[in-house]
């Protein structure tokens, strides 16, 4: 009995401590968060590199209804012509188109924003359906924003000209984010994601190499990943702004990856805004990856996405304010270019026996109108 009373007393004290901590985080009166503004965006995108040419349009329209809910719809298309090294060495070049449709609704209540979204992506041999919920809450007088999110995706995997092949994959993603105002000139963000995959996680077309012979790849049917990222943005006064980011990634396939990025943005006059950015990425290979396996194992893959490699990207963006009437509308035209160099450490070109590498060019032309 005495032990029960002591436990209840301890519980009350812990609740009191939690209450005082929450009081620190959310003092004073609440502020209202604004609904996302109405806007329309159109993007033409292109990626050319490693024998792959992917391009297409994307559009987004966002409109608020009675200042309570903001609805947005997106369409994204990828027309892919694939003659990558995998394809030309073990299959033949192909063309295919992917269509993606998305709908989302944002609702704002006091300092919180709730987003519900759904997306569907269709390819001739792959259908993916995704649903997500995200909640962001401003606390600490608007200096801190906490975000939680969850995404569930269900994919149906097929194979062209093989109606007997049919499989599925499920994906779960849990997100946590924190944005913090550090000073009147610096912001920081912290993101952490936990991801789980289950089902067919490879490609029915890709081959692995065992004792020099090509065989269908065999991937594990589960994967669990963790990723954490920190980002800093700082104001440089007349010299614009600067940002730095770092992400660490690890998963149960034994891939460990580091990503470092930096960028600089600056206005030139009233109408022009320029950005330059750099990114470095490096990863270790999955434990079942092999360029040419010399032992028989349950799982084996020669997917170069799972190999040891690094890539370095350098890019720039130029934004022009076409027309602006403060409080009414704002139209911007933006052009972006990035060059990325991929360098593989344990993936060879089977035609030459040399380590593989390639350069890729990414282009975007983007029109954005807020109203």
């Amino acid at each position: 009995m005495a032990a029960t009373r002591a436990a209840i007393g301890l519980w009350h004290r812990l609740l009191a401590l939690l209450g005082s901590l929450l009081g620190v985080l959310a003092p004073g009166v609440s502020r209202a968060v604004d609904l996302p503004g109405d806007k329309a965006e159109a993007l033409l995108h292109s990626y050319i590199g490693g024998g792959v040419n992917a391009y297409g349009p994307a559009v987004l329209v966002r409109k608020s209804i009675m200042d309570k809910v903001s609805l947005s719809g997106t369409y994204y298309m990828d027309a892919v012509s694939n003659a990558s090294i995998d394809v030309v060495t073990t299959a033949s070049k192909y063309n295919e188109t992917r269509h993606e449709f998305g709908l989302s609704a944002d609702y704002v209540y006091r300092d919180a924003q709730i987003t519900l979204g759904a997306m569907t992506s269709h390819e001739p041999d792959y259908v993916a359906n995704t649903g997500n919920i995200d909640v962001t809450q401003e606390v600490f007088g608007g200096m801190t924003t906490v975000a939680f999110g969850f995404t569930k995706a269900s994919d149906k995997v097929g194979k062209k000209n093989s109606p007997e092949f049919s499989d599925h994959a499920h994906h779960w993603q849990y997100r946590f984010g924190l944005t913090q105002i550090l000073t009147s000139r610096w912001l920081a963000s912290l993101n952490f994601d936990a991801l789980s995959d289950d089902g067919y996680l490879g490609s029915p077309y890709r081959s692995a190499r065992v004792f020099g012979a090509f065989v269908p790849e065999r991937n594990p049917r589960t994967r669990s990943s963790r990723a954490g990222k920190v980002k800093l943005v700082g104001d440089l006064g007349n010299f614009g702004s600067i940002n730095f980011g770092y992400r660490y990634y690890t998963d149960t396939w034994d891939i460990k990856a580091h990503t470092a990025e930096a960028g600089w943005s600056r206005y030139f006059g009233e109408a022009w805004l320029a950005d330059i950015f750099a990114r470095y990425y490096t990863q270790t290979h999955a434990n079942f990856y092999s360029d040419n396996a010399m032992t028989e194992t349950v799982y084996v893959s020669r997917n170069r996405q799972l190999s040891t490699f690094n890539d370095i990207g350098l890019g720039g963006r130029l934004s022009y304010n076409v027309r602006r009437v403060p409080g009414r509308y704002d139209v911007k035209l933006i052009g972006t270019y990035e060059y990325t160099r991929y360098k593989f450490k344990d993936f060879t070109d089977v035609r030459t026996g040399e380590l593989y590498g390639y350069g890729a060019n990414l282009f975007q032309v983007y029109l954005s109108a807020t109203y």
Partner: protein, 79 residues
């Protein structure tokens, strides 16, 4: 296990002692009127959703790592 139990006891003891004390109230140190520079679009962590989505997609289908970018993506059979 012994170490874990010792740590749990220490945490409970610390929490109990702290609950008896008053926690100093932390005030927001950057006032709303000091956040003018932070409201500029060039200080945003993510500026344009469609271009960000394209970058995210290009990297997702070529790199082994994914996630923690703050960009909401969808699935595809692109890799």
């Amino acid at each position: 296990m012994t170490i874990l139990r010792a740590l749990a006891c220490a945490a409970l003891l610390g929490a109990t002692l702290l609950a008896g004390c008053s926690v100093p109230k932390l005030e927001p140190w950057v006032k709303p009127y000091e956040r003018e520079r932070l409201a500029d679009p060039i200080m945003k962590l993510s500026r344009d959703s469609l271009p960000d989505k394209h970058f995210e997609h290009v990297r997702d289908v070529r790199e082994g790592a994914r996630g923690a970018t703050g960009v909401q993506g969808g699935g595809c059979g692109c890799n």
